[in-house]
């Protein structure tokens, strides 16, 4: 494919993409394929000779689309949203073309420097304390990680390294593994599975602490756990607090937890993967109070801030704690300006990295702060609209509180099995798509406002589908 063909094919793809997204409502949101469907549709080996682009292009509709779960359909209400916007797509084309691997400042200065500045922009939009911003001139700053999972892991590994260092300073040399076997980290029993996984990877005991009636982890619970562990000779090193849990969008009490962590010299990391975007609105910002007590904070603009995956933004107060955790420094990566700007390769797990700040920059500038705030507010309003319809129907109850764009609900006075039948009936029907969740043995359905194109009438449509299927599920249940 030469430049002339690229100009033609690239533009055809732009049109295809615009058509796809503008007409996405017409596609069945959840595909009907069976596992293994795709292998039957394409050859078993790569072609010897190149194929025409026409052939490849035709296979998008023949091979790919039948198996796509359309995350950007307004009928998609599963998981949490993943962002998608035109300016982000345009920026990604540029990022692909520049195609630099920004592991050090020298490997492409613009890649590092735009990230530093735009993370300051975003940090200011969230009203983060100065100590998290690079422009403060201190050791703080932001970085784009691939996912919240990686941010949690990086925070935990950094806490681990700091505590191993401290332990050796006090106790002399002991094997790292032996020291680590004394360490303990905490999260709530509502924390995302990636937090537990970070514990497995870092080989740090991760305790899931019980939450209060609102699914919030409270200070006293952490206090008790720390006391119990210290009494057994263990060393608490890390707390992952969640703002906006995945099961039900609950909020840990970051002020209480943070005050404790400060007193105990424990690293508090805040995972606000989904809800963090909402903190750009003054009315939601109080939920972030206490962030000044954290060592690190993370949320995903690639979920709810119109920046295509992957763009998980993380801020730390002391970047030295990250870079010292796993700094290896071969000659082929050294350069003359080390230290003047971050070498982001020390800030995360992979060495290579794409020029991801471009899409964040394009999005913040195209929409401006106000339009992004309004975008968040629109989704929260839609969630409350859905909540109102659930509340008005005697057969249902709301689970937890509706704070952001997620509504958790279930059939009242019905078994988990009946609720599960309803969920399965909804997904089998295929007009809308949702996933379930469970808190303390209670199974419920999660309705997330996901796509940027979702409107009031889509929410009403979803509710009509749910009511229709509820009737048939309840009728079947009666028969049994």
């Amino acid at each position: 494919m030469d430049a002339e063909e690229f100009r033609r094919r690239g533009k055809e793809m732009i049109d295809y993409v615009a058509d796809y997204l503008e007409n996405i409502r017409e596609r069945r949101v959840f595909p009907e394929v069976e596992p293994g469907y795709l292998r039957k549709l394409i050859p078993g080996e790569a072609p010897e000779e190149g194929e025409s682009f026409e052939n490849i292009f035709k296979d998008i509709e023949r091979v790919i689309m039948p198996g796509v779960t359309h995350w950007h359909s307004p009928h998609f209400h599963a998981y949490f949203p993943t962002a998608n916007s035109y300016p982000a797509i345009v920026a990604d084309i540029l990022s692909d073309a520049i195609g630099c691997i920004g592991f050090t400042w020298a490997s492409s200065p613009a890649c590092t420097e735009l990230e530093v500045v735009v993370l300051d922009w975003l940090g200011k939009m969230l009203d983060l304390p100065e100590s998290f911003l690079a422009c403060s001139g201190g050791t703080g700053g932001g970085v784009i990680q691939g996912t919240a999972s990686e941010a949690t892991l990086v925070a935990l590994l950094s806490a681990r390294a700091r505590e191993i260092f401290r332990y050796k300073q006090t106790n002399g040399h002991v094997d790292d593994g032996v020291i680590m076997s004394k360490f303990v980290a905490y999260c709530s029993d509502q924390a995302h599975s990636s937090v537990e996984r970070a514990g497995l990877i870092a080989s740090i005991r991760m305790r899931k602490l019980p939450t209060d009636a609102d699914c919030s982890l409270r200070g006293q619970t952490l206090r008790d756990a720390i006391n119990k562990d210290r009494a057994q000779g263990l060393i608490p090193i890390f707390v992952c607090a969640t703002l906006g849990t995945t099961p039900s969008c609950a909020f840990d009490n970051v002020k209480e937890l943070g005050t404790l962590c400060q007193g105990e010299s424990i690293w508090m990391h805040i995972d606000a993967a989904y809800a963090g975007s909402a903190f750009i609105c003054p009315e939601f910002r109080p939920l972030l109070d206490g962030v000044e007590l954290a060592e690190s904070f993370n949320f995903n603009p690639h979920k709810w801030l119109k920046v295509n995956f992957d763009c998980s933004t993380m801020w730390v107060k002391d970047s030295n704690l990250l870079t010292e955790a796993f700094n290896v420094d071969p000659l082929y990566l050294k350069h003359d300006n080390q230290g003047a700007m971050p070498d982001y390769r020390h800030w995360h797990i992979p060495l290579g990295r794409r020029f991801r700040s471009l899409k964040l920059w394009f999005v913040l500038r195209t929409y401006g702060q106000k339009e992004l705030q309004n975008y968040i507010r629109k989704d929260v309003t839609l969630a409350h609209q859905f909540e109102g319809m659930v509340v008005a129907d005697d057969r249902f109850e709301i689970v937890g509180k509706v704070v952001m764009g997620l509504v958790c609900f279930r059939l009242k006075n019905a078994s988990n099995a009946t609720n599960e039948r309803l969920l399965k009936a909804i997904n089998a029907d295929g007009r809308i798509h949702m996933v379930p969740s469970e808190v303390r043995g209670v199974y419920f359905l999660r309705f997330a406002v996901c796509a940027s194109r979702t409107t009031e009438s889509d929410v009403s449509f979803a509710w009509d589908v749910i009511r229709e299927l509820t009737e048939s599920v309840l009728k079947d249940s009666d028969k049994k």
Copy 2:
């Protein structure tokens, strides 16, 4: 930005990108900016109101391009190549628009299934043993990781989990940390820094073993290290063999190492990040002999196979060993078809993942196997052309062997300091860009054939620049 504006702006970006790449030779390959240049060029905060796309677009040349290291300039000879091709860029537009997060089969079946099949395609192109391929019907298969760093880490973590399990079966319960303090892993002293880093993250002692005169790790060296460690009560669990090292593109003796690892039940992982692409050519495939003795194998099509970053392909013989290493399974990620196809979230560190197999599929089909083989051969030929020019000049010597697209060389009978002056003079001059390396205290220059547009005359041009600067450096040295 509505759909109509996206159609217009997206197409403008396509033209900008084609212009950028077709005329990239005219840009200075290495930027002249000082650290901190960019902050001065843009506002300190995100705009309140959205800006016009014209404004943003203008800033690409004003703000970004002056700070870009142009990895796709034919004058870029630093590090190893990173791939860039038109069909990959077109595929990435589609991937961005679909914007699915393919963590499970159900979250977008096409995303998982295309990856399974295209990794089989690529595995067959490399003539990987059947046991690595999903189509064999066994436990083997391929996955796209973000980077080789992550592939190494995943392999090491999986080996660690397997050995902890085995240890407990024999010895009953012991704290993981205590067990891990007995574990030891190996790589050569030429292995990439990410291997050492994987050891730090996994908290596994990583020994860098000495290599032979060709910078190759040999069986006897590993044998001696294992014996010594076992005698001290340690447990060898993992070897990372490298095919095509970063310092000098050397090749470990995978057959010798693998035979040993099989006998000792040690996990051998092969990191062929750069050189792996060449194994699609029959004449280079013998370098991969012994892969049948490995548990896992990884290389980066995003380096030398025309697939834009990130696309690091990894194959394993027993995927259960990956998925059991850090399997956590919350309800909101469960689906009805678990087990029938891979849930790739268990195969790597992040939970979220982009639809990256699309670009691999587009590239393999657009070029076909033959054209990709010829592309590799072209680069190797260019490297030998450069080697010939170095050899013909009495002032220089080649370091190591030229096997792929990397030529290591230095000023003969000259100090490291003089060679370093030459490297710095080259980068300060700015017509070409290179990085240095060092093996056993000997500093040398690395000339990598990187950009897809590099031609014979670019190689001659680079050599002319190097000779010109050599004269002035040697003149300066004489004066001192």
